[in-house]
């Protein structure tokens, strides 16, 4: 049995931990919605929140010329913002139009196509982020090879 450097073990472990944490938070958010019909509302806020996060992540990645750190945490955080009025509702505060400040919490439910539209937006913004990451990586690679 050979001794492996600590960094080789801890890096994947760290990656795994924050991934698991992000997934666990999403599962917790899912079960915070009561009733089978609430899945519709859960998915709307997930798609909207994640889409906003991907746009911000693409801008940050473009500016820094490298992928953002902890990429799963950003959409989860934005999802919490988008669904925050639902947490208020569970605590006894009904929805109101001003709650649209939370990433369009009320009005996003009523776009034509409903969740199918947000699913397409979600995939589009995810593609935007991934394309930005690839481009940033390519620029990094090109600049390094031209220097070498």
């Amino acid at each position: 049995m050979t001794d492996r450097p600590v960094t080789q073990c801890s890096s994947p472990l760290r990656l795994c931990l924050w991934c698991v944490l992000a997934v666990l938070v999403e599962i917790g958010l899912y079960f915070s919605y009561r009733g089978h019909d609430a899945r519709f509302h859960f998915l709307t806020h997930l798609f909207v929140g994640a889409s906003v996060a991907f746009v911000v992540m693409a801008a940050v990645a473009w500016r820094r010329r490298r992928p953002v750190p902890y990429p799963l945490v950003w959409p989860v955080a934005a999802h919490v913002v988008a669904m925050f009025p639902d947490l208020l509702f569970t605590a006894g505060t009904a929805h109101a139009c001003w709650m649209d400040v939370f990433l369009g919490h009320v009005s996003t439910h009523f776009v034509p196509g409903r969740n199918l539209t947000w699913y397409v937006v979600f995939l589009g913004t995810l593609a935007l982020y991934l394309a930005t990451v690839q481009r940033a990586t390519r620029s990094d690679w090109t600049s390094r090879t031209s220097r070498g």
Binding site: D37, H41, H109, L126, L130
Partner: protein, 174 residues
């Protein structure tokens, strides 16, 4: 060149996994819909007063409901769902905050202290403009009327029995 290709493949794989995974979630949400649910889920339990065409005048359900100066909750149910609703209403004591009435298209054996209106024609459901469930037939849900006789909230809600706290939240928002 190989590294760029490998990175591109990995990113496409990430996108495909997300596309398939979330398509499955969307599909599951569709499949879990019951015949009593609203065909447009955006209108089911929206949690906000005065949505769409509301507020609108509330037609009388009984001689004294809705009554001026007191909110009312009109539950629309079916005979098969009524027993659970009535026992939940007895436990929740919503009648402390509002007049409560149950409307059913078929005869009910009774609903504790809550008045019951039986009407096979579903005229009341139509006059309250309750939405038609995905499977058709009588709606299962409720409408909330404020103290000046305006309908401020209405929704199909086949699980209202388990979520009467939501009705209280809406009443408090009036």
């Amino acid at each position: 060149m190989t590294r760029r290709w490998a990175t591109g493949q990995r990113l496409v794989a990430v996108w495909l996994v997300a596309a398939i995974g979330f398509a499955v979630l969307l599909l599951m949400a569709e499949i879990s819909r019951t015949p009593l649910d609203d065909p447009d889920q955006a209108y089911q339990r929206p949690g906000i007063l005065d949505l769409g065409a509301l507020p609108a005048p509330a037609p009388p359900v009984t001689a004294d409901i809705p009554a001026p100066g007191r909110p009312a909750v009109v539950f629309f149910t079916r005979p098969g769902e009524a027993a659970a609703l009535c026992s939940a209403l007895a436990a929740a004591r919503l009648d402390a905050d509002a007049d409560v009435v149950v409307v059913s298209p078929g005869e009910l054996p009774g609903c504790d202290d809550v008045p019951v209106v039986t009407e096979a024609t579903r005229q009341l459901a139509m006059s309250y403009r309750m939405r038609e469930p995905a499977g058709g037939g009588a709606p299962v849900g409720y409408a909330v009327v404020d103290a000046v006789g305006q309908i401020r909230y209405r929704t199909l809600d086949p699980t209202a029995t388990d979520e009467l706290s939501e009705v209280r939240t809406i009443l408090e928002a009036l």
